[in-house]
C-alpha cells in the first residue's frame, strides 16, 4: 500500500502539478535522451553477443572436419595438425548424461513436493535454499565433489562420476526452479476432476499433472543441461585431463569439451622450426581451442533452441 501512495503522489504534490501544467521543452528533451539511452543499453548487450558468436564461428569453422570430430589427441604432440576432439565430445556427453540422470529425478520430485505437497517450514526452507543453491560458484561445486570422493578414494582420484556429481549440484536447483514453474501452470480443475473420479493423489500427479506439463518439464531439463554442458572449472578439478578416449566414467580421467578448449588455449604456440608446414602449424593449439568452442557453442545453442521449440509445439492448449 505504501507503494501505491508513493507513486500516485505526483498528482498531489504542488511541485509536480506545476510541472505538469506547463509545456516544458526540457521535459521532452529528458524523455528523448532517456529513450535513446535505453535503446543504446539494449544495443550494448547485443554487440558482445553477435561479436562473440561471429568470432567463434569465424575462428572455429576452418578447423572443423570429419577427422577433427572423429579422432582423439592420443600421440599428438607439438604443432602436429592431426588429432581431434572425439574423446572430449564423448566425455562431455557421458558426464552430462550422468549428471542429468542424477539431477532430473531429484529435481522433478522436489518440484512436485513444492507444488503438490509443500507447506510449513520444510517447503519454505527448500524454496529458499534452492534459490541460494543456484548461486553456488561452479568451482565450489567441483571442490565439493572432490572432497566427497577424496574422503572415500584418496586425494588423487579423478573419475568421470565425480564431474557428474559436481554438475548435479549446479543442475538440481535449475531443474527444480523451471519444473516448479511448469507444474504451477497446470490448472487446478484438472486435479479436482481427477480427484472427483476417485483417482488417488499420487496417480493424479503421475497421470494428470506430469502428463499435462511434460513439454514444459522437457524444456526445463534441456535448458538445465545447456547450462551445465559448458561448465569448465568443476570438471577441471574433478575429472582431470587426458588425450585418449575413455568411455568409462567410473575409472580413469576423461576429457570434456570445455576443458579441452582451456587446455589447448593454455598450451600457447608450438615451436615450428622452418615455419608452418603440413606437419607443423604454430598456432594449432588455439585453432583446436576455437574448433572445440564452436562445437560446444553449437551444442548449447541447439539445446536452447530445441528446448524452447518443444514448449511451443507440444504444450497442451489450456483454457
Amino acid at each position: 500500500m505504501s507503494v501505491a501512495t508513493e507513486s500516485s503522489s505526483p498528482g498531489g504534490s504542488p511541485d509536480t502539478a506545476r510541472l505538469l501544467a506547463t509545456v516544458d521543452p526540457a521535459r521532452r528533451r529528458t524523455d528523448r535522451t532517456m529513450q535513446v539511452l535505453i535503446y543504446i543499453a539494449f544495443a550494448l548487450a547485443m554487440i558482445p553477443l553477435i561479436w562473440l558468436i561471429w568470432t567463434v564461428v569465424a575462428q572455429g569453422a576452418d578447423r572443423i572436419s570429419i577427422d577433427f570430430l572423429t579422432q582423439s589427441m592420443r600421440n599428438i604432440f607439438g604443432g602436429d595438425p592431426r588429432g581431434g576432439i572425439y574423446h572430449a565430445i564423448a566425455g562431455t556427453v557421458i558426464i552430462t548424461l550422468l549428471a542429468t540422470v542424477i539431477s532430473v529425478p531429484i529435481g522433478i520430485l522436489t518440484a512436485i513436493y513444492l507444488v503438490e505437497y509443500g507447506k510449513g517450514w520444510l517447503a519454505r526452507s527448500v524454496t529458499f535454499f534452492v534459490d541460494v543453491m543456484t548461486g553456488i560458484p561452479s568451482i565450489v561445486a567441483g571442490l565439493f565433489a572432490f572432497s566427497l570422493f577424496a574422503l572415500i578414494f584418496g586425494p588423487s582420484v579423478r573419475i568421470g562420476i565425480m564431474g557428474a556429481v559436481a554438475l548435479s549440484v549446479l543442475m538440481i536447483p535449475v531443474v527444480v526452479r523451471s519444473c516448479e514453474e511448469m507444474l504451477k501452470l497446470v490448472p487446478n480443475e484438472l486435479r479436482e476432476a481427477s480427484y472427483a473420479l476417485g483417482v488417488p493423489k499420487w496417480l493424479t500427479i503421475v497421470k494428470v499433472v506430469l502428463r499435462t506439463s511434460v513439454a514444459g518439464l522437457t524444456t526445463g531439463v534441456l535448458l538445465a543441461v545447456a547450462r551445465v554442458v559448458g561448465e569448465t572449472a568443476p570438471l577441471l578439478v574433478t575429472v582431470g585431463v587426458t588425450d585418449s578416449i575413455n568411455f568409462n566414467p567410473f575409472e580413469g580421467r576423461m576429457m570434456t569439451l570445455p576443458v579441452f578448449a582451456y587446455r589447448q588455449y593454455s598450451q600457447g604456440n608450438a615451436p615450428c622450426p622452418g615455419g608452418d608446414s603440413a606437419t607443423c602449424v604454430a598456432d594449432i593449439a588455439s585453432q583446436n581451442a576455437w574448433g572445440a568452442a564452436l562445437v560446444l557453442i553449437a551444442m548449447v545453442l541447439a539445446l536452447n533452441l530445441i528446448g524452447r521449440l518443444i514448449t511451443r509445439w507440444f504444450a497442451p492448449k489450456l483454457g
Binding site: 532517456m34 539494449f42 513436493y113 560458484p137 565450489v140 572432497s147 582451456y262
Partner: protein, 328 residues
C-alpha cells in the same frame, strides 16, 4: 497460486479420513517427494561439511607448516593474510562488473518491459538470455584473443591522459590482460541475470500506477521514473546482488584473461596485480598435493561463505518485497 486456494479443504478432509486417503502408495509417493525436498537441504549441508572437513588441515596448520607444504607460499604469513589479497581481488572484480552491468541491464530491462513493441519483447528477452547460455570458457577465449587487443589502446589512452585518477594509474598492461578487461567481460556475463530479474519486477508494476501517471500528463520517461522505478527498486537491488554473486564465483573468464598477482593494488589497468579466489583455485589445483590442496579448499570455503551470504541477502530482499509490494 491457485493451488493454495484449494488446499485447506483437501487438508481438512485428509485429517478426518487419513486412514482412507493417505495410505498405500499415496503415502509412499508423498514420502518420496518429501525426501527429494530434504535431499536439497542435505546436499547444501554436505557441501559446507565436506569443504570444512577438507579445509580443516590448512586452517589448523601453522604458518611454518603452510610455507613448507604449499608451493609459492610466502614466509611468516597466516592463512588469512594469504587469502586476503585473493578476497580483495575477487571483490574488486565483482564490484567492477556490477558498476558496469547494473545501469546497462536496467536500461535493457526497461527497454524490454516498457519501450520495445509488445510482440517482440519475448524474443528480445530470449536473446539477452542467450548471453547467459554461452559457456564461460568461450568468454575467456573471446576476451583473451579478441576483446583484450581491441580494448588495449583505450586502456593505454586512459592511463596516459587520466592516470591521476586512482584506478587508472600504475603501469598499464600492453596486452590488456588487466582487471579492467576482466570487469567488462564479467559485466557481460552477469547482464542476463540482472536483466531477467529486473524485467520481471518492472513488468509487475501495477497498470493503474502507470495509467495514473500518464493521465497526469507524464512523458514516458516520467512514467518510468515516478511509477516503475520506485516500484521496482528493491527488485533491482536484489537482482544486482544476484549478479554480484555470479561475478564473485566466475572462474574461467578471469583465469584466462587476467595476468595474476597478489597485491592490494587499485590499479585496474595494470597487469600482475590481482587474482580472484576462483581463478586461483582452478589455476593451481591440478598441480597441488597434500597441504596445497587443503589450502585451495580453504580458499574455496571462503568463496562459498561470501557467495552464500550475498545470495541469501539477495533472496531475503526478494522474499520481503513479495510480502509488502502491494501488487499481489
Amino acid at each position: 497460486m491457485s493451488t493454495t486456494i484449494s488446499r485447506p479443504p483437501a487438508r481438512g478432509s485428509r485429517r478426518r479420513r487419513s486412514s482412507t486417503t493417505d495410505r498405500g502408495f499415496n503415502r509412499v509417493f508423498r514420502w518420496i517427494a518429501v525426501g527429494a525436498g530434504a535431499t536439497i537441504l542435505a546436499v547444501l549441508a554436505a557441501v559446507a561439511l565436506f569443504l570444512i572437513s577438507e579445509a580443516w588441515p590448512a586452517i589448523m596448520a601453522s604458518p611454518e607448516e603452510l610455507a613448507s607444504g604449499v608451493p609459492r607460499y610466502p614466509e611468516d604469513t597466516s592463512l588469512l593474510g594469504y587469502l586476503g589479497p585473493l578476497v580483495y581481488g575477487t571483490i574488486l572484480a565483482a564490484v567492477l562488473a556490477l558498476v558496469i552491468a547494473v545501469p546497462v541491464s536496467m536500461g535493457i530491462a526497461l527497454f524490454i518491459s516498457h519501450y520495445a513493441p509488445r510482440r517482440l519483447s519475448q524474443l528480445l528477452g530470449a536473446l539477452v538470455d542467450l548471453l547467459a547460455a554461452i559457456p564461460s570458457v568461450i568468454y575467456g577465449l573471446w576476451g583473451f584473443f579478441t576483446l583484450a587487443p581491441v580494448l588495449t589502446p583505450f586502456w593505454l589512452w586512459l592511463n596516459d591522459n587520466l592516470g591521476w585518477f586512482p584506478f587508472w594509474g600504475g603501469q598499464a598492461s600492453p596486452t590488456g590482460r588487466s582487471m579492467a578487461t576482466v570487469g567488462i567481460v564479467l559485466a557481460i556475463m552477469i547482464l542476463p541475470i540482472i536483466t531477467a530479474v529486473s524485467r520481471e519486477v518492472f513488468l509487475q508494476t501495477p497498470r493503474l500506477h502507470e495509467e495514473a501517471a500518464l493521465a497526469l500528463g507524464a512523458t514516458r520517461w516520467e512514467v518510468v521514473r515516478t511509477a516503475v522505478l520506485p516500484f521496482g527498486r528493491s527488485g533491482v537491488i536484489s537482482a544486482s546482488m544476484l549478479g554480484l554473486g555470479r561475478a564473485l564465483g566466475e572462474t574461467m573468464a578471469v583465469l584466462m584473461i587476467l595476468s595474476p598477482g597478489f597485491t592490494y593494488s587499485l590499479d585496474i589497468l595494470a597487469a600482475g596485480q590481482h587474482q580472484t579466489i576462483a581463478a586461483y583455485i582452478a589455476a593451481d589445483f591440478p598441480e597441488s598435493t597434500g597441504l596445497g590442496v587443503n589450502t585451495l579448499i580453504a580458499a574455496g570455503l571462503a568463496l562459498f561463505v561470501i557467495t552464500l551470504a550475498v545470495n541469501m541477502a539477495a533472496r531475503w530482499v526478494v522474499a520481503r518485497r513479495k510480502d509488502f509490494s502491494g501488487a499481489n
